[in-house]
Symmetry: D2
Subunit: 342 residues, 4 copies
């Protein structure tokens, strides 16, 4: 097997670390360069001691990007509004790009500006960008030069909601109560994520960029209907994992069996989605690209439960899944079977 | 101060341990006897080493109940359907009773039978039982011989919902997404609560007696309106604590300020309820009788957040609060100021 | 009961928070002022939301110290080398002082300078300072104006080792392997104490100020013998608690029974020390002033296990215990019976 | 690549789950059968939901062992004294065996009997059994029909101690203070491993089979010297991981540089051992076959720190490493690069 050559922008956050781990053991990829502003000049294993003896890759500053060797694929794990300027020259060099940030998730540059407070730097690329929720947009991803990898909240909610929306089963407002692990906010230490504070902390985070997440979810449900979404993230004492409990009004006659049937049909041919008669649990999908989905229906309310790993299916392993699709590798290459318990 | 004399039925579960700790440091109570079937004949400190050197109390089997010395107050922490037979003779002996089980929470014996599958043993006592959500039913508790201490889920939801219901602000279905610590299911080891399984587990528990909890909440909202309640408990990796996120339809004009205003007025004179401009966190109420309440309102949806300690305000410290009210002690005696951080 | 008046220097670290909680519920103390540089001008409850509704105390900057009202006792929870300059004028004002920092723990100013790199500001006070390991130096504490509260490591090791040293049972080098919770390093966020990093982290910290700790332990064993101490702290995923496993060479004939006998005699009249036939556990002493001690002896090696709460007996509750002794209050006032489980 | 055929005895404990995960993604192995008494007749994914959609393997009772299809390699994860009877017929069928239990770890059947209280069922096989601490006994493993996979404590201690012992640097008693995660005691629920009890529990376990572990370590140091070992396991709130702090008397002149030099030489050509200038951390080796080793030397005491994953290098991944060596596969096949963070 000849390997494609990969570059990583922003390799020393948690999504970056996960991505590096996945690519290092992927049989068809070779990491050629990786950037980090904080650790520029040091080795990846200095930033992440778990990689000691596994890779000797040295980290570079993004300021030298123009001099980096040409690669076939670039993954960007940069913070919001950082990658949109860097991606056009990479595309021009012939690379295909999977952007894990939110820069290319919205077709409408005005919405981006409303959410992030600055104009979009490359509005002309928004049209051709594929939204990389692989199971929903596999065909678009296959042909794309540029894939916007979904956020972890949008991944969980869309996987749970799409089958119902397509089947016309959502009849009113959708409330999403999401419980998220602490790796989501990233590796920069803060009081809220200090072990002693966080270890016993459970609270809602109603103001944390939910507007952008709601917009991402709403716009990506490209099935005609666009239900109103209210998403409330919560912080719980967990490193990795995201659990979305989705409360959706459905027609009063709708049954659990019907909803489960729709889900089963929707995800036929999607081996990373596990629809189950029972209730999914985060601990069955941690360190993996799998999503667990279950549901219950009573009195006109469907409750859909989705469990993913926020750094896996919610970020880096889905980015690899998208790369696999883009390059016509088997979709599960480097991902299938990879899941850790306990 | 002369102390009243107390007995405890079922002292060796987690609620029992918490109650014992509270009563041992309560200036107006002396524990005279405590029962445990599992540890009968042993000392309390054998079951709970944290009490070593603090109390020499010996545990007795409930089978000897008739021979126990007379007491002024009995707390029952027995499993469901266990205390209803034992309480009448205790009342006859002149004791007043706080029952932490669900045996006396429903006025209607038929509902009890429907929920628990057996007929109620003392339907004649249901009428006089006060429902011990102290802040809502303080007057009933004051005069009562028998107080049914609320469940932890009902406590959290009622505290959050009552001000809105009284103000006529709830206009439709109420969805409660509750995140609960692992001490709730008790001290008996099970696979789901095994450290290695639970430490990374996040999942909904839609079938776990929610019907009874929903009924308890609905019936206790004695303000005319009885909104439809859907309650979904979730398990998260936490020992103590309960966080209820309550999604309630309100009239479209209702504002956050209005809702907060109602809450403030409702809990005037209730020092254990902390209504806050911000969002409450479990870690500010653990090991305490305090409840933190916050809310947000958008697009006709009020979202109320309530944080309590499931063993504190959700069980044992509320039982002590009720005892204080019943015996005309200061309501916060032995409770005020007691809260642990970090 | 008339309350004494207390001031707190550095009230917004974890030891400060614990101290405030203890003093607020202490029947003979009133907190008159408390300082914080980070939160000066704000209320204590702004820094520690768990105190909301419990105290309205406002925090002051230490720069205004000279204008603060006179108090009977001052607790200092300031960082190393910060309190030594502030304490003399407080003593002059008639206050008695319990210093939780390391500033007054060493009689020899040269040792202080060697450990902290700066000369001691008040060498003349070192002579009269009592070392506040209450169980060992109760009489010195009783009469003292100034008490140096021991560090948490020294507290655990001295409690475990003192009975053996006094009995002449320690015949060679002592190795201490200490496992400490993450509240020890304080409330300032760092990468190592970030939840996601720390939650699965177990490692030794051989370079973390152990030299000072070893000196503190060695010098405080005022029984003639000064065994060589090697102390290695370890970080484990725990908020509160310290577990010291002490490996001490003893004469080959020494038996477990003999060692336990010495311990029992040594701690007669010391209700906060629990010597046990079994093995102590951190979870039986958390949020308390209790210390659990057990031991085993085999092949000429005594292994003593000590469990304390690093913020309780290892810091703030021992400071209150010392205050109780200094002011001839009952030694356990505000402390006895206070322990939380689970 | 043609795959070898594998059978697993006792697949539904934690070591079994880890082994299954490793073998499912190993390019040269096919799992042909797996046994479980508790889940016989069910699928592996029923016992371990994280394997849903990954394998359809059905579990069989061990009572049908004689009818199972022939395999090339058998892994036994059975409890102590269970596999020794089953292994001879498997060997006769031509299979090679890696036994993860303690049944074949001791050459001397009398020692086995002393430790486990029953006579050894197959003493004639003890002589030919290779002790599978791969880095120390690679050559013996290569030719062996039967490999006794080391215990997790022995693995950590031997990796840390062997270089010093071989270099003649250990001059007296060795004390090992080991901190172990809660997956070690297995998947059967017990009070001590109940989340609510264990989450804050830190304690020594001096009586837990340490005698057998000490014997295993002592006997396996086949370099002439057999230092006296005192091993004290401790329980800490962690799912996976083992941290051994080894305190070994060395000649007074010995330096840290010298010890590190010995370690570096010893583990040349052993890619899974990471000797480091710094201090190892469990969180850099979790979910992996890597071992982190560091050391410090002062005043005639070498302190060696070893971090492994008790289910990885301490059990299942080392079993796979041994299989790789036995079948002349690359030693790191299916293992190299596999490590998870955070």
């Amino acid at each position: 097997v000849t390997a494609i050559r990969a570059g990583i922008l922003g390799a020393t956050g948690y999504a970056g670390a996960e991505l590096v781990g996945l690519l290092l053991s992927h049989p068809r990829v070779e990491i050629v360069w990786a950037t980090s502003e904080k650790f520029a000049g040091e080795r990846l294993a200095d930033a992440f001691p778990h990689l000691l003896g596994i890779t000797d890759l040295k980290l570079e500053s993004i300021r030298r990007l123009s001099g980096f060797p040409r690669v076939d694929v670039v993954f960007s794990c940069l913070p919001p509004a950082s990658s949109m300027r860097l991606i056009p020259p990479l595309l021009d060099s012939g690379a295909r790009v999977v952007d894990l940030s939110s820069d290319f998730r919205f077709k409408d540059p005005a919405l981006f500006e409303a959410l992030f407070g600055i104009p979009h730097a490359c509005p002309h690329l928004l049209g051709e960008t594929a939204y990389g929720l692989t199971e929903l947009f596999r065909e678009e991803v296959r042909g794309a030069r540029l894939v916007a990898n979904p956020g972890c909240f949008a991944t969980a909610v869309l996987l749970g909601l799409a089958p119902l929306v397509r089947a016309g089963l959502v009849s009113g407002r959708v409330v999403v109560d999401a419980k998220a692990g602490l790796s989501g906010p990233g590796r920069a230490p803060r009081l809220e994520t200090h072990f002693v504070e966080a270890n016993r902390s459970v609270r809602a985070l109603p103001d944390e960029r939910s507007q952008g997440r709601e917009a991402e979810i709403r716009l990506s449900l490209l099935f005609g209907a666009t239900p109103e979404i209210v998403l409330v993230p919560h912080r719980i004492p967990l490193s990795r994992g995201l659990y979305a409990s989705i409360y959706a009004e459905v027609p009063h006659g709708a049954s659990r069996k019907e909803v489960l049937g729709e889900m089963g049909r929707f995800y036929e041919g999607s081996p990373f989605v596990r629809t189950t008669e029972g209730v999914p649990d985060v601990n069955a999908v941690t360190y993996s690209n799998y999503a667990g989905i279950g549901c219950t229906v009573e009195r006109g309310l469907a409750i859909v439960f989705v469990a993913i790993d926020n750094l896996g299916k919610g970020a880096s392993s889905q980015a690899v899944q998208n790369m696999n699709v883009m390059f016509s590798f088997p979709e599960g290459e480097g991902l299938a079977g990879r899941v850790m318990f306990p």
